[in-house]
């Protein structure tokens, strides 16, 4: 069964702004799903609708087969949402925060205590138990925020830009934590991000959004393959040699995009093997010295920039 199924979802705010423009997507059970898009693409609006915080204008949404309009209360008991802002209560202790969450989900006290101990250990929060929550660093607060949202053992955990503003080490620790949540608890994770490397390293499925609509959904590998356009990279000894090479290469591959980056050239391929052969042949013929020539696959960043800058028909 799909964890989330969204079809033709539209959200128009009262001020007339249309945040979602017929978005459709599918999230499989147990996967890490990343929603990728620039600021204003509609990611947060979509997450707010899926977590039942906002009502959509039109469209179909089902969460584990349950319709979000008619069975919102049932859906709420099976999901948890970690918002962009850390929403822990700094007047309560770490354990009080977690027990408070469990009370609202009507989890029996003994069961809640057992689960709390597991989560405190799993999220490495033991050494913070004796300190007030208000003294925690941003990264620890974020960990606690996720841990307390796991108290209800949600089937789906929504994370709205969970690593925004974090340093590299904290971000990588957070990635490990997300993988651990999925492997240890079998939770489906739906996250929004605008970090490409985050989506690429974590996700089973990535959906790229633009202007309130999905432009592409697939695995990171599928998305990279989407462009089907490899790059030919020719490296020269220095900038001068690269400029000489640029003249000849641009002339030979006229009509193609050839870009000079310091001491190397990038050429958009039509047929990478043929292009490689021809470029090598040309450089030998013209007696232009070069250091290396290779075919590069497009990165996810290339896909993202291409899709979000031009759009896809």
């Amino acid at each position: 069964m799909d964890a989330i199924y969204v079809e033709n979802l539209v959200k128009k705010y009262q001020n007339g702004m249309q945040a979602l423009n017929g978005v459709s997507l599918t999230v499989k059970e147990g996967e890490i799903f990343s929603l990728l898009g620039e600021n204003g693409a509609g990611k947060s609006t979509l997450i707010n609708i899926l977590t039942t915080y906002l009502r959509p204008t039109s469209g179909t949404i089902s969460v584990f087969g349950k319709d979000i309009h008619n069975e919102a209360a049932v859906i709420r008991s099976g999901i948890a949402c970690v918002a962009q802002r850390t929403s822990i209560d700094t007047h309560l202790s770490l354990t009080e925060n977690m027990m408070f969450q469990s009370k609202l989900y009507k989890i029996p006290k003994t069961e809640a205590k057992d689960r709390m101990e597991i989560l405190i250990s799993c999220f490495g929060l033991e050494r913070y138990l004796k300190y007030p929550v208000s003294s925690y660093s941003g990264g620890v607060k974020r960990r606690l925020d996720i841990a307390l949202n796991m108290m209800s053992n949600p089937k789906i955990l929504f994370l709205d830009e969970p690593t925004v503003g974090m340093d590299v080490q904290s971000r990588m620790a957070m990635w490990e934590m997300m993988k651990k949540i999925r492997s240890d608890f079998g939770t489906t994770i739906f996250l929004t991000t605008h970090y490409l490397e985050e989506a690429e390293s974590l996700s089973d499925t990535i959906c790229i959004m633009k202007d309130g609509k999905e432009v592409l959904q697939g695995t990171p590998h599928t998305l990279r393959q989407y462009l089907q356009q490899n790059i030919l990279k020719i490296t020269f000894a220095d900038k001068g040699a690269a400029k000489i090479g640029l003249k000849q290469i641009a002339k030979f591959f006229s009509g193609r995009k050839v870009v000079l980056h310091e001491e190397h050239l990038s050429v958009c391929c039509e047929n990478s093997q043929v292009d490689l052969k021809q470029a090598g042949h040309l450089l030998f013929e013209q007696n232009i010295a070069f250091m290396g020539i290779e075919i590069l696959q497009p990165s996810l960043e290339d896909v993202f920039i291409r899709l979000t800058s031009r759009g896809v028909s």
């Binding site: 977590t51 008991s77 999901i79 949402c81 850390t86 309560l92 609202l104 929504f158």
Partner: protein, 254 residues
């Protein structure tokens, strides 16, 4: 919705427990809602009291109802502040994606306001007793006093909910309470209205604090209560209904 409404009172008590912890762990709240009114009471009784002619033997007997209303005014400012902070920190967002009845979030704050203000009032009365306050009121009169104060608190709390939900800054959330805290000064709370200039006197006699103060004062001195008690309650009920409707309208739009 049925399954969430079934746990309305349970969820509200969880929310109430959380807000009460906030109050007991926040020294500035305790100082503002209890110690400041006590300081005012000491100031009025021992500094100004001798120069004020109220027609009562004991100035504190005259003063106490006004101090009680001032205490409630200070207390409800924190309702707005706490609600605003819940909104700003994304805690309301988190609550709204949980299997709870949405309105329990507000009702938790409202119940906290009623109980915490009740505790503050009891503390103020105990201090007043130490300062010489005496009342000939019976149990029924005391219950009526607490009833009026409860309705007054409820009315102002719903106004505070509007301020907390609509404010853009923490200062903005608390600022609305200042006119309420100072409203007793332009009423019969501290001095009789007879000595006031005519324009001020008209305002003082018509504004809601005066009938509430008069009603409580008469109840505490075991005097017959005239129509002012009904005027007082009518004011409070109108404020409750209007403020509740506006608060819910704003809350649903969040």
């Amino acid at each position: 919705m049925e399954s969430t409404n079934k746990y309305f009172f349970k969820d509200m008590s969880v929310m109430f427990g959380r807000s009460m912890r906030h109050i007991f762990r926040s020294m500035d709240t305790i100082i503002t809602v209890s110690i400041t009114p006590i300081a005012f009471m000491l100031l009025f009784v021992y500094v100004f009291g001798g120069a004020i002619e109220t027609g009562t033997e004991n100035y504190i007997d005259y003063l106490l109802p006004g101090i009680m209303l001032m205490t409630i005014g200070s207390g409800i400012a924190y309702v707005a502040y706490r609600l605003f902070m819940d909104k700003q920190r994304g805690i309301l967002e988190r609550f709204h994606s949980m299997p709870i009845a949405r309105s329990t979030v507000l009702w938790g704050h409202v119940l906290t306001s009623l109980i915490s203000n009740g505790i503050s009032i009891v503390v103020i009365i105990l201090v007043a007793l130490l300062m010489g306050f005496r009342s000939s009121a019976g149990i029924l009169e005391w219950l009526a006093v607490f009833g009026i104060l409860g309705v007054f608190t409820l009315a102002l709390t719903w106004v505070a909910v509007i301020a907390g939900l609509a404010a853009k800054t923490p200062d903005g959330a608390g600022a609305f309470a200042y006119p309420i805290i100072f409203l007793p000064f332009v009423s019969s709370a501290f001095v009789p209205t007879d000595t006031m200039p005519s324009a001020v006197r008209v305002f003082a006699e018509k504004q809601p604090v005066t009938p509430i103060v008069e009603a409580i004062r008469n109840l505490l001195s075991n005097q017959p209560v005239g129509s002012e008690i009904w005027t007082a309650l009518a004011w409070c009920i109108v404020i409750i209904v209007v403020a509740y409707i506006f608060a819910m309208r704003i809350y649903k739009k969040l």
